[in-house]
Symmetry: C2
Amino acid sequence: MQKRPYNFAPGPATMPEAVLTQAARDMLDWNGSGMGVMEMSHRGKEFTSILEKAERDLRDLLAVPGEFHILFMQGGGLGENAIVPMNLCGPVGGAPQAADVRTDFVITGGWSQKSAKEARKYAQVNVAASNEADKHHHLPDPATWQLSKQPRYVHICSNETVFGVEFHTLPDLKALGCDAPLVVDCSSHIASRPVEWDKVGVAFAGAQKNLGPAGVTLAFVRDDLLDQAMAICPSAFNYKNVASNQSMYNTPPTFGIYMAGLVFQWLKDQGGVAAMETLAIAKSKLLYGAIDASALFENKVDANCRSRMNVPFFLKGDDGQPLLDAEHPRNAAFLAGAKARGLLNLRGHKSAGGMRASIYNALPLAGVETLVAYLQEFERTLA
Amino acid sequence: MQKRPYNFAPGPATMPEAVLTQAARDMLDWNGSGMGVMEMSHRGKEFTSILEKAERDLRDLLAVPGEFHILFMQGGGLGENAIVPMNLCGPVGGAPQAADVRTDFVITGGWSQKSAKEARKYAQVNVAASNEADKHHHLPDPATWQLSKQPRYVHICSNETVFGVEFHTLPDLKALGCDAPLVVDCSSHIASRPVEWDKVGVAFAGAQKNLGPAGVTLAFVRDDLLDQAMAICPSAFNYKNVASNQSMYNTPPTFGIYMAGLVFQWLKDQGGVAAMETLAIAKSKLLYGAIDASALFENKVDANCRSRMNVPFFLKGDDGQPLLDAEHPRNAAFLAGAKARGLLNLRGHKSAGGMRASIYNALPLAGVETLVAYLQEFERTLA
């Protein structure tokens, strides 16, 4: 078989070759059942076994404690931006719906911005901290966060995919004197390191970056937070409903769950999250090191919060300024040369410009080595 | 290749073999791109071409008029039960949100019951007609419907999957003196016959019965209904948002859309919806005919509204009464014999009991012929 290109897409993203090969093999007949996975009733014993194994493997892989429900949902991260407040801002313990429910958001990039904007439909939103003023280059120190008195929850995006900003450790709200649950959007770095569950109330992630195909959303919901949905929360997106029906209140995205299950198995075979963390540190260190050592490339994010999954970088112009416009001849030449070498999807997000290499679990070290060699080669050709 | 079993599952359901074969072939490398479809950025030119072709083929296949937007969404039929009222029950034309928005529902089985129940979260619900009293065996004549004065919309489920009740023609609300748009849940018979678009305001369908895998929902929304969402409608499920972003406001279920696109192409290759309608009439006539001619099997749905897609039937006991319990020895023997002959998933829905054969587009005539031969054989062995 021909060697596959290295795909640096930010999500949907590269999948393990072994997983795709298995999926192709099972397509017309899963495990002698006479049906492909897509053709199975979601309530039949075949798909039930697929779903149960996927959930078990994910719980094992991420060491999810028993008090957290694992929910397979639909709608992605943008869906959860509404689903979280609809589930957490309703009446608590038999009290009537409060009119002044307050939520806190820490803005560290485009995703947390979108989350805060969406939450305003359902609750009052307090921006407790923001790094907008310095173009998302640093992480606001939790000691400086202006938290509300009794917010219903505090939301962070623990890895901002567009600007490449990552919480290397989760904030400890209790240590900050706040009893509210922490809601963590961890879409773009889930399963790249262990989760500090003792600091978390709800975590969610679209699967399409590190865990599988688009169309599957994972939500991890602590048991005590299951029963405070707003009356207008749709049944299909109500955490309690989904939990009490084993993610089968509505027909789940069966094939996507099967694919995610294959990825979970592959991750376990690779040595699990500990091995992925070691690999992520090695890959990101190599790439940031090459960028920092170069006169042509730059990344201005603080070293203490550089993402290990999404590495945005810029080529500089002859004046030393970063070239934002992907159509600039130097950027275009860089992207064309990359593609010719089998390095795909390095163009940055339109809201950031420049370049971005997403180096998720399924992107091997050899891919980053090849990219680094190309960065050096490209810089030499300009010298 | 070994002949595949006939899969009568109600959804997720059997897929065309040619479609599955193509998907297996493309799994690691779509069209020489070096990426499988699951690995593609949803905004890249490769996936954009897949989405655009799928939408074009679907518009062609169902003759969708230009004033209808085709939206690829997530959340299935149960999701749409909330998404429809959240999109249609908000302020209209700059007026404030009305407190007494009224919607009308026609109950013809379990799906329309669920839809009406969910809508009560967002609006007043008037049950304009119901066939509950006779166990969903007939279709209430539109001339008898008790429609509200000015409902925001009138909802029907045009094919009830569980009880096998189908509107063979859509009601003409205008002829009934009602100006409201008709909302049609057509999940389980979409693409089995032409759509009477002049009678429709919104139509929706989970893809997992006649059009593709679970996790993709099609919504067809008439242009004038795009702009009356409630303030609490989540952005990711707001029809206007989805329409103005070509179904890419949030990351769409890319692989599911690709699979649906392969099904659309396959349907066109088979002769389109006209050919599917001819086939559905032939298959359902054969099966209902065998049931009616038998002393052992029965289906009590009125002939004028028997579903061409979902055929529930019961074996009778020695006392002539239908055997609801699937665990009854006679039912168990029937199901075991069916499985041994490669006839899968004939067990009925738990809320109806007995048996059900779902005979969607991808289930060939030969499958129904084999089933009919087995019905006759089984009856003979009891004689």
